[in-house]
Amino acid sequence: MTTIYEHDVIVVGAGGAGLRAAIAAHEEGADAALVTKLHPVRSHTGAAEGGINAALRDGDDWELHAYDTMKGSDYLGDAPAVEGLAQDAPEEVIQLEHWGMPFSREEDGRVSQRPFGGLSFPRTTYAGAETGHHMLHTMYEQVVKRGITVYDEWFVTRLAVTDDADPSERECHGVVAYDVATGEIAGFRATGGVVLATGGLGQVYEHTTNAVSCTGDGNAMAYRAGVPLEDMEFIQFHPTTLPSTGVLISEAVRGEGGILYNADGERFMFEYGYATNKGELASRDVVSRAELTEVNEGRGVHDDYVYLDMRHLGEDRIVDRLENILHLAEDFEGVDGLEEPMPVKPGQHYAMGGVETDEYGATCVEGLYAVGECACASVHGGNRLGGNALPELIVFGARAGRHAAGADLGDALIGTGRSGEVEEEDGLDLPVEPGATTGGDAVADGGAVTEAGSVVEAAVEAERSRVERLMERDDGVKHSEIRAAVQETMGNHVNVFREEEGIKQALRDIRKARERYEDVYVADPSRTFNTDLVQTIETRNVIDVAETIALGALARTEFRGAHWRAEHQERKDDEWLKHTFVTWNDGTPDLWYKPSVLEGEGGEYEPKVRSY
């Protein structure tokens, strides 16, 4: 009595990326369905505040946008993806406008744009300080309009992928999902393709701007199905989050002219030479490190944070453009942004890395796509520019949706899987074995075992028995303890500043977490809305994802973009102009590299010193 739902295109996740993919597939004539663990409007895209980069105006063009993005990425972006983003963003943004998105407006009635960190032109299109909210709702509205099927509060736990020694030979036929409301486990067969759009992985860290639901599920599921995770060590720490909760204070505050002060009232970005040109508007990694350095050198407030001041902008401007910030500061920190400076410190914000895809969002597994924050196309390389994630969602969401629906987009320039110039890592000094523990059936999975016809059914069965076992256990460790342990070690050791010994400690702790996970148990006996079970499964994903981040961080012995290593204080272009990849390899992870693609339409992007 296995229920199998069948659609042409199954989109997992209904944030900005997933919604756009579903709409695109639908417009291509496919029967698309969204399967999402949260109702679409609850997705974390709604939290994005600042804006969407798109070269819309005279004086700006996509080449400039691509150039800024490549520079921001510290030359680890792949040119075809970066250029694709810059080229398609304007059209996609205007599409949103035509769907009614309430953008902020200029006097002449056109959409407003503002400056953002790392951009050579004020090209960040915005809707107040709640751009993501409007984008998410506008696209959900279009999904309703088109009558696209939405399975909400269905938690996808596993991909139905055929087995083959070589992941590039595997095919994805669908997914398995758990209906949170009733506890039913069902299969979803996709005749065209499965698009993963599960968003961020911020829950790997304790102090994060990401939602509680951002547990890197898509990354972990694709990883265990054999798809490589790319550049996982590149985690962006946003310089302005509220110290108590991690709630984000948008970069727009600095874009509009907000100023950072240390405890001594010094404008440290200039005073201490962190970024003598751009000051507060330098790239996020630069500002985050500057703040932490201030705190570490004793110039922080309460040894914890610095101040972000916007009072001088004046009440009118603040209320007009940053009103939402006033509410956030008031509700979550009890600070009135019109009257006093706001306390801020760096917090985990964005994962540049993710599931490896080409510039159409396709992975090396046939029929499996990934878009949005869970994917790595790679647009952001070593560091994402503010306002570049939202356009990524719509640009690549649309492409993957179309591709999965069967549209011919031409050949991809970016190769996927172990093809091209692959370089294996074999000399890495690991403190413990990463990957699967022995025993513990709740922990084992990997690729499925059957041929194409019955792969979805088989995956459903495998998932049923996993859930059965998790539910059966009487006693043991609670997922919340394991998750907290992982978050703690990641926060201590694989944060803004990284040292070799620390990363190794993190790997040891993650290993311990894996072992404890073998004894994890679900206390809630109910099948109805069992969030205990859902979070237990998510925690497994958090562990897997944390491990890939730590592995990448240990391997990359240089300082590039958001990745800073104490022992390696410079960017090493000779050795490290390449992406890191981690593959699950059925439980014994492999590390390998491929060079980044710097050859674009307008020639080669020359790595330059990144100074702001």
Partner: protein
């Protein structure tokens, strides 16, 4: 009523009578663990630490002793700046992992955690414990069926939202590549508040009329319609929009109780929007006389 008259439950939980022996064992274990933890928590209370008492509504159709709704007590150590959501998470992670509630963003944007806290609809993540009288009573949103503990069935709310054709449908798009529709600042300002809705359902839950008349669109859906009706970019569809709103269970049902406006966590002036639409509808109809 029934929810209120229930005696706050004792911490003891009867072993639920469930199907398989495995289930029973599990439940037995759980009872013991929960009791232990509660005892620990109680012990913690007697020390000098400052704690807040939460009385939380519990119900689970599948677990024997939760089938009859009850309130459980949780003593949560208080920290500065703690919200109701923080306290619930603490209670769940520390005392009883079966405590169930929706939440995600922790920053008042996903709209998952509208709850009935001390007699009024609030977003748990946005409600500071320091603003509440102790003990803090936490219940699921009124007027919606309870699925489990604090989780309510939102289907009907979504249906109402979908009923107002909540999507842009202007046929009047500008010609030419990359040509946007123009919208004046004033017009954007006019619809601005209405676009902030996060679909939390607090307003509809607070409205007596929505409670009595299940077909009443309710303040959230009407506000959603307002967002389109008043958007000058969609002027060609205004009449169509008003036709939906002036149906029997549309705007006329609103009796200006204002509770929707009072509870909306996004400060949307719902009553004002509804009233404006009533006037628009009357104006439209007057034209035909």
């Amino acid at each position: 009523m029934s929810t209120q008259e229930q005696e706050p439950a004792t911490q003891e939980q009867e072993p639920p009578e469930t199907e398989s022996p495995g289930d029973r064992r599990r439940a037995e274990k759980q009872r013991r663990l929960a009791a232990d933890r509660q005892a620990e928590a109680e012990a913690a209370t007697t020390t000098d630490e400052e704690t807040v008492l939460l009385k939380v509504f519990r119900y689970d159709p599948e677990v024997e002793d939760k089938q009859e709704p009850r309130f459980d007590d949780f003593h949560v150590p208080y920290e500065d700046g703690m919200t109701v959501l923080d306290a619930l998470i603490y209670a769940r992670d520390t005392f009883d992992s079966s405590l169930t509630f929706r939440h995600s963003c922790r920053q008042a944007i996903c709209g998952s955690d509208a709850l009935f806290v001390n007699g009024s609809q609030r977003l748990a993540c946005k409600t500071q414990l320091s603003d509440l009288d102790a003990p803090v009573r936490v219940e699921p949103l009124p007027h919606q069926d309870v699925v489990k503990d604090l989780v309510v069935d939102m289907e009907h709310f979504y249906d109402q939202m979908h009923a107002v054709e909540p999507y842009f449908q202007s046929d009047d798009l500008p010609e030419g590549d990359l040509e946007e529709q123009r919208q004046s600042r004033e017009n954007r300002e006019k619809v601005k508040m209405s676009t902030r809705c996060i679909w939390c359902g607090a307003c509809t839950s607070s409205c007596n009329i929505a409670a009595g008349d299940n077909q009443y669109l309710g303040p959230a859906a009407i506000n959603k319609a307002y967002r389109f009706t008043m958007d000058e970019r969609e002027a060609d569809k205004k009449e169509h929009r008003l036709r939906i709103l002036e149906q029997e269970h549309g705007v006329w049902r609103c009796q200006t109780q204002f509770s929707c406006t009072e509870v909306c966590p996004k400060d949307i002036p719902l009553t004002e929007h509804i009233q404006e639409l009533k006037r628009e509808a009357v104006k439209k109809n007057l034209k035909f006389w």
